[in-house]
């Protein structure tokens, strides 16, 4: 493992790797290593020294950080000025049973969006600019440190969800958002999936600007005594506006809405996949159109599951034989299934996502080659497996 202390050292490392045609793995906190196809034993480039807030300008809504900055550090600094990251980044280390520090670079690279995606989009909608080293050992800046920019190709979008296959990230600039002073979590209890998800979609379609809409079925391990299930609604605002939003939400749904104790912590657990800690089953995240959630959940009938994003995201744990049907179902619903956790051999066989259609696969391979023609960076990380 080579631990670099600066961007210029990282450039030197990549250039040497290139000269030697030696692929390598990029690591920092290491909490995302359980995701996706495992990388065979390769030299590691440890970028964890690239940490810290580089520049934070609250009045510009901009925060520039080094990629190995721990998520809690960023959230804390932003919170002091009444702000936050837009995509509500998740720390999935508990799912993988890994102790380590989840970093912002890792969260962006795997697009670990949380409930806040509902209103402010996934990582791609927050990342305005980056600096990174491509596979040629060149420092490339993409995007710009302003909120609105259409100059040249939007390269920051490509970095989100790229699993480190395009660049060694060295700096990230986010558009940040105000953090209202109050938040409340309300629940409709004893509601089945069909009805519960319908409640959530009704709120999503309203002007209430909910920042969390999740469904916990009966038998979930996060919230007891939910009867047939609970539809959870996170609303935010200053004191008086939040009060009005709660009144409006009650009127809109026409059912009892109880405030949930420790509701904010509950949404953090949903975000971080806490319900799937310790399971021996394979863990999946399915993105589907929200209205399909009850049907898809019923068809899979997973022993352990929950819904986020008003139904647009299903987390579930299922036995190994379910991979084929889960992926087929996601595809049939215009969606996608991400394999979050499985034993290494299974991850190698399945890959992170099902193989894309050939034309899309060719375009993506072309984009990968445009950044890393010799395939040095995190090789195989986004590859589809050989099959279940």
């Amino acid at each position: 493992m080579t631990r670099i202390a600066s961007e210029s050292e990282a450039v030197e490392f990549v250039r040497q790797a290139r000269a030697q045609k030696q692929p390598f793995e990029i690591v920092a906190g290491g909490t995302r290593r359980g995701l996706g196809a495992p990388i065979p034993a390769l030299p590691q480039l440890d970028v964890s020294a690239l940490s810290g807030i580089v520049n934070y300008e609250p009045e510009e809504l901009l925060c520039t950080v080094a990629p190995a900055t721990p998520l809690p550090e960023i959230e804390q600094v932003l919170a002091q000025r009444g702000q936050r990251l837009g995509f509500d980044p998740a720390d999935w280390s508990v799912v993988h049973g890994i102790s380590g520090t989840a970093t912002i670079g890792g969260a962006v690279s795997v697009d670990a969006f949380g409930p806040g995606r509902l209103l402010r989009g996934p990582a791609r909608d927050s990342l305005l600019a980056y600096r990174g080293i491509n596979g040629l050992g060149e420092v490339i800046r993409g995007g710009a440190k302003v909120v609105k920019n259409v100059t040249g190709f939007d390269l920051p979008k490509l970095m989100c969800g790229a699993f480190g296959t395009l660049s060694v990230l060295t700096e990230l600039t986010f558009r940040v958002y105000p953090r209202p002073s109050r938040a409340a979590v309300l629940a409709v209890k004893d509601t089945g999936p069909l009805e519960g998800f319908a409640h959530l979609r009704k709120i999503a379609r309203s002007a209430l600007e909910a920042t969390g809409l999740a469904y916990l079925p009966s038998g979930n391990t996060l919230l007891p005594d939910v009867g047939r299930g609970a539809a959870l609604i996170r609303l935010e605002g200053e004191e008086v506006p939040l009060g009005e939003k709660i009144v409006l939400a009650r009127a809109l749904l026409g059912v009892p809405l109880d405030e949930v104790d420790a509701g904010l912590a509950l949404f953090e657990k949903i975000r971080d996949g806490a319900m799937f800690a310790g399971t021996e089953l394979e863990v999946w995240r399915l993105m589907i159109p929200p209205s399909d959630a009850p049907r898809v959940a019923a068809e899979i009938a997973a022993p352990l599951w929950l819904g986020d994003q008003a139904g647009g995201l299903l987390w579930l744990a299922a036995p190994p034989g379910s991979a084929g049907p889960i992926r087929a179902l996601a595809a049939a619903h215009d969606g996608q299934a991400m394999l979050v956790k499985a034993p290494e051999a299974r991850r190698a066989a399945l890959g992170l996502y099902a193989p894309p259609p050939p034309a899309l696969a060719r375009l993506r391979a072309g984009v990968k080659a445009a950044f890393d023609p010799e395939g040095l960076l995190n090789p195989g990380r986004l590859d589809s497996g050989s099959g279940a």
């Binding site: 609250p58 009045e59 510009e60 901009l62 009444g82 702000q83 697009d111 989009g121 791609r124 060149e138 490339i140 710009a144 302003v146 909120v147 609105k148 920019n149 259409v150 100059t151 040249g152 190709f153 939007d154 390269l155 979008k157 490509l158 989100c160 969800g161 296959t165 958002y177 105000p178 379609r205 002007a207 605002g237 200053e238 008086v240 506006p241 009060g243 009005e244 939003k245 993105m287 159109p289 929200p290 209205s291 647009g312 619903h333 215009d334 969606g335 991400m338 996502y353 894309p356 259609p357 034309a359 899309l360 375009l363 993506r364 072309g366 984009v367 990968k368 080659a369 445009a370 950044f371």
Partner: protein, 493 residues
């Protein structure tokens, strides 16, 4: 500004090309000179070029066949939506097929349950909102040309509007597209689930200015119309004071739906033009919208008034819809009002860090003196997007060239303070040769390799965005003559 020279071999084959296209789209080929002239420019009307031929497909299959044919024959393609680009993004080529998407204008599906609409690319931006507004929904990005501009063009340019700070640009409101590659392959990116599952090519093609292919189907998010919108007009004694107000508003945690700045010259011009009631003598004014549920908007309005008073400004809230409309009427008439001062005008488009506003305005005042040309400023203050309007008289020899040089200097100033060449109009041909001001050679080559991954033949919209010839300082901009815009019926603000 130069485009790559036309290929004489293609020009010589024109009759055969026209026949082949007619076989694919029998009722949608424009070949005669008069017909082609309609398409000889977009809204950057200072530059014109007759296309080799115009083809107007009606179906996805026709698009695929046209693109495959052009690929086989090595003919350039220039995609075009409604032709409202302000940066020359759809300027035709003498040796290129102009692929105009205006006849593909069906709304394919409205899905309220999932908050999205799927349309063909020729549907206008405003028609998406019109299709859903009876049910209380709208499509958020609102470029000033929204009555005419097409959603396909919006995807190509990543169009913005007045409400980007809160609601984002096109890219933030897009869930999926069906995309035809320069080789004629159909690729689905994203969809109702908004899922990418691998490298985010949807994000990449959005705002790629027609260099990577053509979209034939688009799924966008729709939002519930906010129940309440209120407007506040603020005036200031100095530009730094207005800048301080903007910074304080953002730092206070307020996310206005829109926040527009006008400098003294601009405010006085519109006051003389349509009397929106702007305070006389103000060095700068802000027009601010807040939207949301009633209590939220009330709270925001109170905080706005307090913040503005704290920095020494004065503010006034519109008491009814009529007054709201009047406050906005001045901002929306800025172009027309400036057109009365001088017959010609260039509209620039850069983004700067908000904190640099006083410095940039001072720099522009110096440039204005240096060039001997007037310049007023409207500014999307919320997101830092600056639209300087340079006024001049083209009948005076050398004045157009001076205006262009002035404009290029303004954009260089934007880049120097940490900003960008274009916030929402696109690079097109207009700012192409300024790209090296912002990007290093390696960065340009990186983007060039991405282009090659989609279009190895370099046939899709060649000559746009990236300089292909030695840098040339000639710049074109939105050119307004006699207060007449290229599309005079479109509001421009």
């Amino acid at each position: 500004m130069e485009l790559p020279p036309p290929d004489p071999n293609i020009l010589a084959r024109r009759d055969a090309i026209v026949s082949a296209l007619k076989a694919i789209v029998p009722d949608g080929v424009v070949e005669d000179a008069a017909g082609r002239q309609v398409f000889d420019c977009d809204a950057l009307a200072a530059y014109t070029q007759l296309p080799l031929v115009v083809v107007l497909p009606k179906t996805r299959q026709q698009v695929i066949e046209v693109v495959k044919y052009a690929n086989r024959e090595g003919i350039p393609i220039v995609p075009r939506g409604a032709g409202t680009s302000l940066s020359g993004g759809s300027l035709p080529r003498a040796d290129g097929i102009l692929l105009a998407m205006g006849r593909m204008k069906s709304i394919l599906e409205i899905d309220y349950e999932n908050g999205c609409v799927t349309v063909e690319p020729g549907v206008t931006n405003l028609n998406i909102t019109r299709a859903v507004e009876a049910n209380g929904f709208y499509y958020a990005p609102d470029p000033s040309s929204q009555i005419a501009c097409s959603i396909g063009g919006n995807v190509g340019e990543n169009s913005g509007g007045l409400h980007c700070l809160k609601y984002g640009l096109t890219t933030n409101n897009l869930l999926g597209v069906v995309f035809i590659t320069p080789e004629g392959e159909e690729v689905r990116l994203g969809g109702k689930a908004g899922a990418q599952g691998g490298l985010d090519l949807l994000g990449l093609i959005t705002g790629s200015e027609g260099l990577l292919g053509t979209v034939v189907e688009i799924t966008v998010k729709i939002l519930r119309k906010p129940p309440v919108t209120r407007t506040l007009l603020a005036s200031f004694d100095s530009v730094p004071q207005a800048g301080a107000a903007v910074a304080a508003i953002i730092a206070d945690g307020i996310l206005p739906a829109a926040m527009e700045f006008m400098d003294k010259m601009c405010a006085e011009a519109v006051e003389a033009y349509n009397q929106p009631g702007y305070p006389a003598g103000a060095a700068a004014i802000l027009i601010i919208d807040a939207d949301g549920v009633e209590a939220d908007v009330t709270d925001t309005m109170q905080r706005l008034a307090a913040v503005i008073a704290r920095v020494g400004g004065t503010s006034q809230e519109a008491t009814d819809e009529a007054q709201r409309a009047r406050m906005w009427s001045g901002r929306k008439a800025a172009f027309a009002a400036m057109g009365r001062i001088q017959p010609d005008m260039l509209c620039m488009d850069g983004t700067i860090p908000r904190k640099a506003l006083p410095e940039v305005l001072e720099g522009m005042a110096r440039l204005s003196e240096h060039y001997g040309l007037g310049c007023c400023n409207v500014f999307h203050a919320g997101d830092g997007n600056l639209h300087p309007l340079i006024v001049f008289d083209q009948t005076k020899p050398g004045e157009f060239e001076k205006a262009e040089a002035f404009g290029a200097d303004i954009l260089r100033l934007c880049v120097k303070v940490g900003g960008v060449l274009t916030g929402e109009h696109g690079v097109g041909i207009e700012k192409r040769d300024l790209m090296p001001e912002m990007f290093t050679t390696e960065e340009m080559e990186q983007q060039g390799r991405v282009k090659c991954a989609f279009d190895p033949g370099g046939r899709y919209n060649p000559g746009k965005v990236f300089p292909t010839l030695s840098p040339c300082i000639e710049q074109g901009h939105l050119h307004v003559h006699g207060a007449q815009l290229p599309h005079p019926h479109l509001p421009r603000y």
